[in-house]
C-alpha cells in the first residue's frame, strides 16, 4: 500500500511553520512590564491601541525575572521596570538603547489599615496599640527603603525598630495588611487605588527619595517604530491620566 500523508499531519506541519515564522507582524509592540504596574499597563495599552495603528502585547513578571529573560534573548521590544537599576543594567550590558531611558512613573507610598477611621495622618504612628507595622524589606524592595526613610523623617524609626514585619516585596506587605495580620503598614498607593475601604494616609513625596520606575527601548526590538510610538504614548497626557488613577505620579 502506498503511504499517504494524513490530512491532520499536513495541518500540523502548516501550524508549525506558522509558529516558526517571524511573529512580529507590522505595528505590534511587545512590552515586558513589572508586575506592580499590571493594571495600569493594560489600561494604557487599550488607549494606545485605540489611538494608534499599533497594538501593544504585554508580558508581566517581577522586574528581576524580566531582566533575566531579556538577558537570555527573550523577544521584547520595551522594558517597563519597577526600579531604575535594571534598565540601567540593560543599557550597561548593551541590551537597550541608552538614549531611550526615562522615568515613566513614580511610586507613591501610603500608610494603610483596613480599619476605617484608624489612619487619619502620621499621628496614628504615635498610638501604642498598633502591634507590628508592615513594610516591604528595605534591603531588597524600593518601597521598603522609602518606608524606612519616612519613619526616619517623622522621627519614628527607633519606636518601630522592634515592631516591624517585613514582606519580601510590596505585594506581600499589602497581603499582611489586607488580611489584618498587621494592623497598619506602608503599602504602594497603586495597591489601594480604585477603592476607598479602610483608612489611609497618602505619604507626601518629599518624605522619601522618589520611587522611580524606568522604561527603556530594547535593541532587539523588531519593529522600532511601533516601540518608539509606545514609549512616546507613555509620556503623553492620556498615559498620565491612567498613572494618576492608579496611584502613580508621572515620571520626572
Amino acid at each position: 500500500m502506498r503511504p499517504t500523508a494524513h490530512p491532520l499531519s499536513t495541518l500540523a506541519v502548516f501550524l508549525l511553520l506558522l509558529g516558526a515564522a517571524p511573529a512580529a507582524l507590522a505595528g505590534e509592540v511587545r512590552v515586558a512590564v513589572a508586575a506592580n504596574f499590571t493594571d495600569a499597563a493594560k489600561e494604557i495599552g487599550t488607549a494606545f491601541d485605540a489611538a494608534t495603528d499599533h497594538t501593544a502585547v504585554f508580558s508581566f513578571a517581577s522586574t528581576g525575572q524580566l531582566f533575566t529573560q531579556i538577558a537570555g534573548g527573550a523577544p521584547f521590544d520595551v522594558f517597563l521596570a519597577a526600579d531604575r537599576a535594571r534598565p540601567q543594567r540593560a543599557i550597561d550590558d548593551g541590551l537597550a538603547d541608552p538614549d531611550s531611558r526615562f522615568t515613566y512613573a513614580q511610586g507613591r507610598l501610603a500608610l494603610y489599615s483596613r480599619e476605617p477611621g484608624l489612619v487619619t495622618g502620621p499621628d496614628v504612628l504615635d498610638r501604642t496599640d498598633l502591634g507590628r507595622l508592615a513594610i516591604a524589606n528595605p534591603e531588597t524592595a524600593p518601597y521598603g527603603a522609602a518606608a524606612v526613610q519616612v519613619l526616619a523623617n517623622l522621627g519614628k524609626r527607633e519606636r518601630f525598630d522592634d515592631h516591624l514585619v517585613r514582606g519580601a516585596n510590596i505585594a506581600q506587605t499589602f497581603q499582611f495588611v489586607a488580611t489584618g495580620n498587621a494592623r497598619l503598614g506602608f503599602v504602594a498607593a497603586s495597591q489601594i487605588a480604585g477603592h476607598e475601604d479602610g483608612s489611609r494616609w497618602m505619604v507626601p513625596d518629599q518624605l522619601h527619595t522618589p520611587i522611580a520606575q524606568d522604561a527603556v527601548l530594547l535593541k532587539a526590538a523588531a519593529d522600532q517604530s511601533a516601540a518608539r510610538a509606545f514609549l512616546a504614548f507613555l509620556k503623553g497626557p492620556q498615559a498620565a491620566e491612567v498613572l494618576d488613577k492608579y496611584g502613580y505620579a508621572p515620571g520626572g
Partner: protein, 227 residues
C-alpha cells in the same frame, strides 16, 4: 568578616523550629496515620487527600490561606486574642503551625504505611493476650512501626529545616523570632552579601546530606535490630 552572632541567630531559630515542629508532627500525625491505616470509612481517602495537599500545592497557596487562618479573620486570630495579640502570623507559634501543616504528609505517609504493613494480626494477638487497645498500641503497634516513625520524624525535621515559601508568607522576617535560615539566605543573596549566603547555604547542603545519610543508615539498622 561576617557577623557570627547574626549568622547564628537564624540557625538556632531554625533548629528550634524544626525540633518543636517534629515533636508536634509526631503527636498530630500518629492518630491521623492510625485512622487512615485502619478505618473502613468510605471517605477515608478524601481525608488522606487533604493531608497530602501540601505535597502538591505551591507553598504560596498554603502561605496565603495560613495568613488568613492565622489572622484576625481566622481561628488563629481568636487564639491570639486570648493572649492579647491580634494574629498568630509573625510569631514562632504561627511558624510551628504553618510548618506542621506543610510537613504533615511527609510524616503521616510513612507512619501510615508502617501501620498498614503491620496488618491486623499483631493487634489481634495482643488482644487475646489481654492487652487493651492503648496497651497494644504502645507495646506492639509503635515498636513494629518504628521504622515509619523514624522516617517520618527525619523527613518532617529536614523538610521544616528547608521550608521557605510558607514562612516567607507568614513570618514577616523578624530577627530571632521568624527569620529562619532559608529567609536569611534569601536576604543575603538578594542584597549581594554572598559570603554570608555561602556560609549558610553551604551549611544547609552539608546538613541535608548528613540527615539523609543518617536516615538511610538508621533505617537499615532499625529495620534489623530487635530491642
Amino acid at each position: 568578616m561576617p557577623d557570627l552572632a547574626e549568622l547564628w541567630s537564624p540557625i538556632r531559630l531554625t533548629l528550634i523550629l524544626a525540633t518543636v515542629t517534629t515533636l508536634v508532627l509526631l503527636i498530630v500525625a500518629t492518630p491521623v496515620a492510625w485512622w487512615l491505616a485502619r478505618s473502613g470509612a468510605r471517605w477515608k481517602e478524601a481525608v488522606a487527600a487533604v493531608v497530602a495537599l501540601p505535597l502538591v500545592l505551591p507553598p504560596t497557596v498554603l502561605g496565603f490561606y495560613l495568613l488568613i487562618l492565622l489572622g484576625p479573620d481566622g481561628p488563629g486570630g481568636w487564639i491570639a486574642s486570648l493572649g492579647g495579640a491580634r494574629s498568630l502570623a509573625f510569631t514562632f507559634t504561627g511558624l510551628v503551625i504553618g510548618s506542621v501543616v506543610y510537613s504533615l504528609p511527609f510524616v503521616v505517609q510513612p507512619i501510615r504505611n508502617a501501620f498498614e504493613a503491620m496488618g491486623e494480626r499483631p493487634l489481634e494477638v495482643a488482644a487475646t493476650l489481654r492487652a487493651g487497645p492503648w496497651d497494644a498500641f504502645w507495646s506492639v503497634a509503635v515498636p513494629l512501626a518504628r521504622r515509619g516513625f523514624l522516617t517520618g520524624a527525619m523527613l518532617g525535621f529536614a523538610h521544616t529545616m528547608g521550608e521557605f515559601g510558607v514562612i516567607l508568607m507568614i513570618g514577616g522576617n523578624i530577627p530571632g523570632e521568624t527569620r529562619v535560615l532559608s529567609i536569611a539566605i534569601y536576604d543575603y543573596v538578594e542584597t549581594l552579601r554572598w559570603t554570608e549566603a555561602h556560609l549558610l547555604a553551604g551549611g544547609m547542603v552539608v546538613f541535608a546530606f548528613a540527615v539523609i545519610l543518617a536516615m538511610l543508615v538508621l533505617e537499615k539498622r532499625v529495620g534489623r535490630a530487635r530491642p
